[in-house]
Amino acid sequence: MNGKLLEIKDLKVSFFTPVGEVKAVNGISYSLGYNEVMGIVGESGSGKSVEAYAIMGLLQSPGRVVGGSVTFEGEDVLSYDSRQMTDLRGNKISMIFQNPMTCLNPVYSVGNQLVEALTCHNKDISKAEAKKRAIEMLDLVGINNADKRFTQYPHEFSGGMRQRAMIAMALICNPKLLIADEPTTALDVTIQAQIIELMKELQKKTDMSIIFITHNLGVVAEICDKVTVMYAGHVMEQGAVDDIFYHPQHPYTKGLLRSMPRLDEEGHERMVPIEGTPVDLLDPPKGCSFGPRCEHCMKICLNNQPPLVEVGEDGHVSACWLHVMQARKNKEAGK
């Protein structure tokens, strides 16, 4: 399918704390097509979750969008009032979170919460019908004995089951976009594998788009079509999943891939870590945010922020001065 479902342009989010402004997201742009899975990778503090909260209008004080635009199906979401936003959330854009236990209400049965999500957005649906639909949904996400489980409470579910229930709740209104914020981080590997398989299957069945936020590169390689690598609120590199994993261009992406221990490594190689410590967002570097930790750091990197440069096909872009230098060299050689 053609067209863009979601387009983000130069989005900036800041938190105004007593000790100063924290620029959590500092001008990121990307677009997401229909039926596409975009992975957003970054370490803690890279702004990957904050950016998702901004799309959903869930930013809490002192956080605020300070610039840029978010366009969903051609409409500017940031200009929505709270009623319009409520209508959008859960209906067209849904979100699942890292820890399902804190997102499910412990005093309502799981079924009740599913029905509520449905009746919120479809006022004319009958109770019996809503219940039927909720049970179907639980069944779809692989919960056995769905009609019995319907009446149970979140504490009676295991971690994996809760995450399944969360997914059922997020998908019950057939959203066009699902934002998954670290949905498998709190789960064990075998359960993680189950949930990933489930999400892949559901994505194919329902034709929705997914924004998959995670710090686990393995999970990204598993489920995503496109990847955005973030560091300290900036986009470092963006491209198709194969390009990012097989032809990474940005020193940070390369460093991340190199510093991971791999299950399929032959023999014992010493790991190559990224030196230094993550950025202090209260006092970010003037130039490239990765500059102080980068092995190729040049003078220009410390003073000026690098532009996003096209480095390959399918919208493969990377923000690094090395690419600018390389392009300049190529030009001179061409002359």
Partner: protein
Amino acid sequence: MTQQSKKLLEIENLRKYFPVKSGLFRKDYVQAVQDVSLHIFEGETLGIVGESGCGKTTLGRTILRLYEPTSGKIVYDGETIFDSEQKIAVKMLPYCRKIQLIFQDPSASLDPRMTVGEIVGEALDIHKLTHGKAERAERISKLLEDVGLNSEHANRFPHEFSGGQQQRIGIARALAVEPEFIVCDEPISALDVSIQSQVINMLEDLQNERGLTYMFIAHDISVVRHISNRIGVMYLGCLVELAESYELCNKPIHPYTQTLLSAVPLPDPKKNRSRKRILLEGDIPSPLNPPSGCRFHTRCPYAMPKCSEAAPEFKEYSPGHFAACHLLEEK
């Protein structure tokens, strides 16, 4: 690691049950560690992997006798430190100089009201390892430098450090008494990806410099694969397979190890698309009421009637490769 090396630690049929009240007069037990037998050679790294609730942390702590074992035998360096049959339970203080522990959550395991110098120096005081203030201060700054911090950090408090640095403080504290054996309990799980490899490299360097022996407990099998000489896989309190790292990751023989390995997402899109996954049904059963026979039989794709009746024996199938499965016995 060669087989001729000395066995530093040996445990036999180690068992740890935690009592839980389930009625007025009834007591049930969480069977956290069930009859685990293994040994660790001097200078090697033994990795222990498993999912949450499999008892890997309890095993580590029971070896240190932070939890008193329910039954079994622990032999350290030829000396029996615990034996339930002969009723031996020696005082642990002298052994605390030889065995140390690194915890998972660095911010929770450092006292927020003590300075880094006090934290690292506390162990020196307990074991009376230094004489005089100057020597103590010197030792502390040397330790901090060894783990990649600098000596001025001694006067700061833990909250002034990042997660990676806090973990380094935890490691400096463990090293203060010059131990021989360190139990690393998920030392890098709480850290960012780019920091994890820094800490792993440091642990490897320290091992080479000081001839340390590690027991490395983690849930991330790729990390364990990287750092360990041998790996043990645990499921619901039982050790199901133990082999050299390469062998275990490439030729796993226990069905649980096979599923665990196939569940790990690889940072390689093409390989992910081409490989076949073994998906397990359901969740880990409760250790309060574990399945009869082989504890894995409720989720095992190859389960036979026999599996629910008798627990399989933990046997050596090829040199250095142990496993507990009825399927293998029949072959």
